[in-house]
Symmetry: C2
Subunit: 219 residues, 2 copies
């Protein structure tokens, strides 16, 4: 569990005391935009999607959380985005009060969470570039490369890459429609850069071609 990576044994057991375990079924909502921030979470298995919605139903997915990622980094007193399970999800839950107390006692813990926050900020800024300036195929290529790189960091399979989220999720993440996402997958497949054994699995065949298409802006 990645929050604890910087902690000594004594600190770990303290963290363990205030932690409770929780399971989410596929598509179960964990928190909703605007909910008061009572608990924060650390993902141990599965994938979460973070999203913001407009009054008229339009949705923007701001990120996907992988095992080891932390939920609640951006927020001060209310959740700024909705978090839902994509597949089956396992996570640890902490009361923010107790977590804050623990952070005061163990500065390493605080530093670690802040390092997470900085990393999330860098990623959000890269996403701004992707959303604002890339064409659909470029968006998809950079999405696949970034996800593959993160999968590797999180000790998951980086090359036959698993895509547990739906095409709709990918579309709402990249600012496209599902049709355009699907067509972009087809283009990447037809140019031999990827293979699609099934819709939730991608093989990245020609990494350097993908990087060229993506503009190598994948940190």
């Amino acid at each position: 569990m990645a929050v604890c990576a910087a902690l000594a044994d004594e600190e770990l057991s303290e963290l363990d005391k205030i932690m409770t375990s929780r399971h989410l079924a596929p598509n179960e909502m964990l928190v909703s935009e605007g909910d008061p921030l009572h608990r924060t979470y650390s993902l141990t298995a599965g994938m979460l999607r973070l999203s913001i919605a407009l009054p008229d139903g339009r949705r923007q997915i701001t990120g996907f959380l992988l095992p080891g990622d932390y939920l609640g980094l951006a927020d001060e007193d209310v959740h700024s985005s909705t978090a839902e399970a994509i597949g089956s999800v396992q996570l640890c839950s902490f009361s923010t009060r107790e977590m804050h107390a623990l952070m005061e006692r163990y500065p390493k813990l605080k530093d670690r969470l802040h390092s997470f926050t900085r990393s999330a900020l860098r990623q959000a800024r890269d996403n701004q570039m992707i959303l604002g300036r890339l064409a659909p195929v470029e968006k998809l290529a950079s999405f696949l490369l970034a996800l593959s790189a993160r999968a590797a960091e999180h000790k998951l399979s980086a090359n036959p890459l698993s895509l547990p989220m739906s095409r709709t999720d990918i579309a709402d993440y990249l600012g496209l429609t599902i049709e355009t996402v699907s067509r972009s997958f087809t283009k990447l497949r037809n140019t031999g850069m990827i293979r699609l054994p099934d819709p939730q699995t991608v093989e990245l065949i020609d990494m350097s071609a993908l990087e060229a298409v993506a503009g190598i802006n994948v940190h």
Copy 2:
């Protein structure tokens, strides 16, 4: 100066010791993407633009910094974006080494910077929604409202709102072309929501109409 807002006198004088003042001419570059992170900055007057560039020259502006804002929040060891002065800029500069040392001695300082980082993350995520899901007029409306709100927070004029940045900058921030930005200004003007005494000045006439157009996603 906003970094110091939470500091006692003794702490302030310590901060003052490690601080050096600096001035930037219009369009002068402060740091470039990839530069090693030796110094961080706190803006005291003027406006900075943060941007990321693609190999082919496409550019995404990830944010505008106002007086009181801090530069270097997201970065670990290199700058992840380019920072340039928009008009004439005045800022305070800190060696990251010394700043880190000071943060260890005064936890309040550290907490304050981390609060800045969280706030920047929330803003970056709102930007993702704006970039991914809003139509041009909606983008512009939400940009104007957000800038006006921030101007108010930073004790600047919120309603006859000053736009020191060029149309190109606004376009690169909103993921549009300058022509579309200009046309969107015209639409907002023709529907009576804003007035444009000159290109760098906007009067927000009908706030609630603007909010409706923007989707009220401006926290």
